[in-house]
Symmetry: C2
Subunit: 144 residues, 2 copies
């Protein structure tokens, strides 16, 4: 169990940024949510956040490697804590009806061989891999 806020502050500092109250609020909210949040969802949970500041801070947190942005085709971007902070590599189930995004994990053995295969694919094509992203597209229980 790492101290998420300490790590967030470290990463922001390395980027020449401060760990302000608003940014702490956002990190806290994403940590508590237990899954990706859209901006409306984030603002609904914390009314004191201004929309423009929230967007700006999410961009800054993303650049610092604290937050990860997920784009789906329902128009709303989703935000979650970077996996390095949560120490929990996972993937996403995306509902094509309501747009909700939830986490899931693969068996460790499969994840390993997947990782290796992706590295092989990447080196063969001179592509510098930063990360991979595996999404399940379908219909969630609530929408079916």
């Amino acid at each position: 169990m790492v101290d998420i806020h300490a790590l967030a502050e470290t990463r922001l500092r390395a980027d020449g940024q401060r760990y302000t109250r608003n940014r702490r609020t956002i990190v806290e909210a994403l940590d508590r949510a237990g899954g990706p949040l859209s901006l409306p969802q984030l603002l609904h949970r914390h009314r004191q956040l201004a929309q423009s500041s929230a967007y700006r801070n999410l961009a800054i947190l993303e650049a610092a490697g604290v937050v990860h942005r997920i784009v789906t085709n329902d128009g709303f971007a989703r935000f979650e804590l970077a996996q390095a902070l949560t120490e929990h590599h996972h993937h996403h189930r995306i509902c094509s009806t309501c747009g909700s995004v939830e986490d899931f994990t693969l068996p460790a053995a499969l994840e390993d061989s997947l990782e290796k295969a992706l590295r092989r694919v990447a080196t063969k094509s001179d592509f510098q891999v930063a990360s991979h992203q595996l999404d399940l597209i379908g219909v969630c229980p609530g929408c079916s």
Copy 2:
């Protein structure tokens, strides 16, 4: 080797749509491109296409299962022929610098076990899987 246009026409007809010249042009372009195209790229290749019609037809082709839409975080959606038409299951390498999207495939054995694992994950959570999507995020040779 299937006839892509025949299949496209069948799928459109099943949706109560016609396979018009503009739609054929789009399918042709996506087939020739050998990879996903953004709308600007598509219009650049075929100047006679109107923007609004191209967007509308891409949406119709997507609804009919002829075209697949890929959203990235560079703002531009990409379009490619549905894998059922190309008979070629593949994944995407997305360059985080220039936004370009290219295809790649996994070893068949790995793809199989991945498929099985995803089905297991899905049934366990009452999620009705329509498809999966695996992306490599990183920097392409041209941008590094």
